[in-house]
Amino acid sequence: MDGAEGRRPTVEFDVFVQHSMAASDEAWRELREGCPVSWTPHNGGHWTLAGYEDVTTAFRDWETFSSERPDPERCAISIAHSPLPVLLPEESDPPRWHGYRRILAELLSPGAVERLRPRVEHWVGHLIDQFVETGCAELAHDLAVPLPSMVTMEWLGWPREEWLPAASTFHEMAKYVPGSPGYAEAGARFGWLAGRIAEEMADRRRHPRDDAMSRIAAHEVDGELLPPEIAASIVLITLGGGVDTTTALTSAALIHLGRHRGDRQRLLADPSLLDSATEEFLRLYPPARTHARTVAHDTEFAGCALRAGDRVLLSEISANRDTQSFPDADRFVIDRFPNRHVSFGVGIHRCPGSHLARLEFKTMITHVLQRLPDFVLDEGAVVEYPNWSMIGGWAAIPVTFTPGTRG
């Protein structure tokens, strides 16, 4: 293995056989402890990085680990063969990345997100009002799924009657395994969504409004408006990034608080722990569990020979469980500090929606703890997504609680 051309330690690792969170966590533990930099022949053949230092180094070194599509038909940032159109700015490198990223950085800055706080509070209150008097709820369907969609859709300026069909397209894509009938169906709906984005954006160029789609439609790079397909791609990524990831994080935290009464009691007794708890939920339950990159030029990495064009899978979930960086890494430590998890990525592609995600998440958890503090998880009826390769999640989180009153 240790030839002049560098090592290529090979393991049989298939990220798409991770059909439950527990199976996924265990598969990553085995790989991290056994072979943290490895090559697998599965899924077209790719390198896999499982340790914290290697994952963060690769995320930051965009000149070696490129986010541009080497093949226009193949998603650059996922190992799956995906029907998704290009997602910008994430599927781009500098220099062109700068102009695409700028508009999202402006629209989702800490200050801009703070101005969305009243709308987030409003929608969380509205959703909980719908079920709080009944004493039972299905917290995925009734809260974690709709809230990020409503906030994102309203912010974009999307017509209200289409919030649900547009957002559910992404939930279905995340839920099903690529190649399955459910995934194919969701893929077909995607065509409809892409067409609708093009229509809405054309309308915003003619009739600008006070919404994020209008700002993207009017965004200029070097004095010129973005080409329509690129502006549409930026809208698409706000949907893809905005509607399913925060759902997955919130679902994981609700399941955790349902199963670990001690952690719930500590948060109820001291709400100021929510900030550190949020980072710990992010570390243990990263909504985006993996991302892919493509090697831009031949290089040696951790003693291995990487060749231009090689695909590389970077594991956020595994980096976050690396005991070299996180003592007692498998345990939820509510006041863990420091906690430099990589759940929003690091480097230039750091999730531009991270500030909004934290606001939505903290608001949902705060309201749940205030309004249904004694909720009991119906463990037998909890349903996980069957696909934990990239974005995990739950399809059903049924709970019962002492009925409350509408806010």
Binding site: S109, P110, F337, N339, F344, R350
Partner: protein
């Protein structure tokens, strides 16, 4: 003395600590500000634009916590 924030121990030398930010590393996570609101200054996009310089010791804890919060390790705090 090295620049690792863990090395900070306030009090021996004087009345201030020195912080500096590597703007090439900052990608706008804005977690420094959350941990050190009286120390760190962000621009309108959330990037750390705190000028390099001295921080009074009463803000040492905020300065160190902000540095330790940075996912990019972009902040250095020294005695």
């Amino acid at each position: 003395m090295g620049g690792h924030p863990r090395d900070v121990h306030a009090g021996d030398q004087g009345l201030t600590m020195r912080i500096s930010v590597d703007s090439d590393k900052c990608t706008g996570h804005a977690l420094c500000r959350a941990a050190g609101p009286n120390v760190y200054v962000l621009d309108e996009l959330g990037f750390n634009v705190t000028p390099a310089g001295e921080v009074p010791l009463e803000l040492a804890d905020e300065a160190v916590r902000g540095a330790l919060s940075c996912p990019e390790s972009a902040i250095t705090v020294e005695d």
